[in-house]
Symmetry: C2
Subunit: 252 residues, 2 copies
DNA sequence: CGCCAGATTGAGGACGCTCAATTCTGGTGG
DNA sequence: CCACCAGAATTGAGCGTCCTCAATCTGGCG
C-alpha cells in the first residue's frame, strides 16, 4: 500500500532533530490522512475554531496569523513543505490564532487521536513532537529579537537566512527561496509595511546580498547576508549532534 | 518527609491546564531538587551552556534573554514563581539563549533525567509538559504581535495585563504587580528604551489606567487597560474547560 | 492590446530613539 | 535622626527610521 510522500517528508524532518526507532517511524507512516487543497489567502483554520486534526503541509506555504481590530496583521510563524503546521493544536485544540494559506497549498489532515495515541504509546515519539514544538518556540523567540532590536535591513536579512536554511535543512542555506511569497507577506511577518520591505530589498540588492525577482528570492552572498542579520543557525537545530544527548537517555 | 513548596506550586500550575492522575502528581512531587539563590542581574544559564537540569522558579523573576553584538537586549520570556523556566531544555539541553535573574531569585534545580523518566513512564505528564511548552509559544506569539503591530502604549498595557493574569492565575488579573521590576526591564521585554517606557507609563497614569510606584505596578482600571491593549486572556489558557477535551481522550 | 495585482518611487509626518541634564528614592553610615 | 550617595526615574531637545498616502510603473494573463 502506498504511503504518502508527505508523511515520509515529515518523518525525515523529525529525524533531523530526534532519533526514531523503526517502530516509531512505522507508527507515523501508518497515520491516516485526508488531503485538502487551498487557494492563496484562504483560511485553513479560523481564529476560535476547535480543531481535531493537525495540518501537515506538503506543498505551498502556510502562516500563523494574529490580528488587531484595526486590521493590522502579524504573521507569527511560517510553515513550508514537511512542517506540521499546528502540532500544538493536538495539545490545545481551541485555536488562539488563525492559519492561512499564503499561496496555493496542499495540506494533509491527520486526526489528533492518532497523533496522541502514537505519542502515548511511544515515548520516543512524544519527545520528538515535544521537541519540534520547542524548536518552533526558539524560532519565534528569534523573530521577537528581530522585531524588538533589529532594524528593517537586518530583520529582512535574518528572515531570508532562516527560510533558506529551513528549506535546505542545513545550517548553510540554499541560494534560492522559491516560495512565491509577495513583499506584503514578508511585511506581515517582519512587522513592517510592504512599502518599507520594498525599499529595504533595494538596499540588500544594492549591496549585492540578496534580491527579489519574479516570485523568488535569491541570496547573492550568503556570508554578507548572514553578517547583516547576525544569523546563527544553531537555534534551528538542523544538525542532530546537539540533540544526541537526550536520545542517549531514552529507555531501551 | 517534607515536599518542597515550590513543587506543590508547580503541580498546581500544571493542573490549571491539564488533568493529572494521583500517580502523576506523586511522581512530580517526588522529584529531587537543589535550591539555588541568585542576585539581581546574575546569570542562571549562560548562552551556549549545556544544562542537565530544569529551573523551577520559586521566588523572584527570571528572564530569557537574547542579545545582539551591539549589546541590545531582548527579553523573550518572563518567568515568575511556579513557572518551570526552561522546561524546553529537557528537550534541547544546549542553551540557545540565556536565562537571567532580573531580581533576587530562588531557583529549584531538577535533573533532566527525572523529568524525562516521569514523562516517559506517564503519558499524561508528557502531555502536561508538552502542553505547557505550547502555552509558552502562544505567549511569545502574543509578544510578537505586540512588537510588530502595537504601539508603545498598547504594548505596555498588554504586558501589564498578561503579568497580572499570570500572577493571579485568572483571566481577570490582580490589581497589583509586585515583581520589583525596573522600567529598564520592561523596556528589554517590550523592544523599547527605558526612556520611552517612562513616557508611556506617564500616559497610562494620566488616563488613570495603570501606574508605577515604588517597586510595584498598580492597575487602576482593568477594563480600560485591557481595552487599550486589546487584551484577550484566552491565549494563556488559565481556565481548564478549554483544555478538557484532550484530557478526555487520554487512555484510562 | 488592455487589464490588474503587485512592485516601485516620492513627499511629508509621526513615533520612538539618542544624548543629556535633573530630580527622586531608598538604603547607608555618621 | 539626618546627611549622603548611587541607582533609578523623569524630563527636554533634536533626530532618524519607518509609516502614510499617493502616483506611477511593470509583468503576466485573458
Amino acid at each position: 500500500v502506498g504511503v504518502s510522500e508527505a508523511l515520509r517528508l515529515f518523518v525525515r524532518r523529525l529525524e533531523i532533530r530526534s532519533v526514531l526507532a523503526a517502530q516509531e517511524r512505522a507508527a507515523v507512516l501508518a497515520w491516516p490522512e485526508q488531503v485538502q487543497r487551498f487557494r492563496a489567502n484562504e483560511d485553513v483554520i479560523r481564529l476560535g475554531d476547535t480543531v481535531d486534526t493537525v495540518c501537515l503541509v506538503s506543498d505551498g506555504i502556510l502562516a500563523r496569523v494574529e490580528q488587531l481590530v484595526n486590521g493590522n496583521r502579524q504573521v507569527t510563524a511560517l510553515y513550508v513543505a514537511g512542517d506540521m503546521a499546528d502540532l500544538p493544536s493536538a495539545m490545545l485544540p481551541h485555536a488562539s490564532s488563525g492559519l492561512v494559506a499564503l499561496t496555493e497549498a496542499t495540506v494533509h489532515r491527520i486526526p489528533h487521536r492518532h497523533v496522541l495515541a502514537s505519542a502515548d504509546s511511544l515515548p520516543g515519539l512524544a519527545r520528538a513532537f515535544w521537541r519540534d514544538c520547542v524548536v518552533d518556540t526558539y524560532i519565534i523567540a528569534q523573530w521577537l529579537l528581530s522585531l524588538g532590536r533589529r532594524d528593517a535591513r537586518a530583520r529582512l536579512a535574518h528572515l531570508l537566512c532562516e527560510l533558506s536554511c529551513r528549506l535546505a535543512g542545513d545550517t548553510r542555506g540554499q541560494p534560492v527561496i522559491n516560495l512565491n511569497l509577495r513583499q506584503a507577506h514578508l511585511a506581515d511577518a517582519l512587522g513592517l509595511t510592504s512599502v518599507h520591505v520594498n525599499r529595504t530589498l533595494r538596499v540588500l540588492r544594492e549591496e549585492r546580498a540578496a534580491l527579489h525577482v519574479g516570485r523568488r528570492f535569491e541570496i547573492l552572498d550568503w556570508d554578507r547576508l548572514a553578517a547583516i542579520a547576525e544569523f546563527d543557525p544553531a537555534y534551528l537545530h538542523l544538525n542532530r549532534e546537539e540533540t544526541a544527548a537526550p536520545a542517549a537517555l531514552r529507555p531501551e
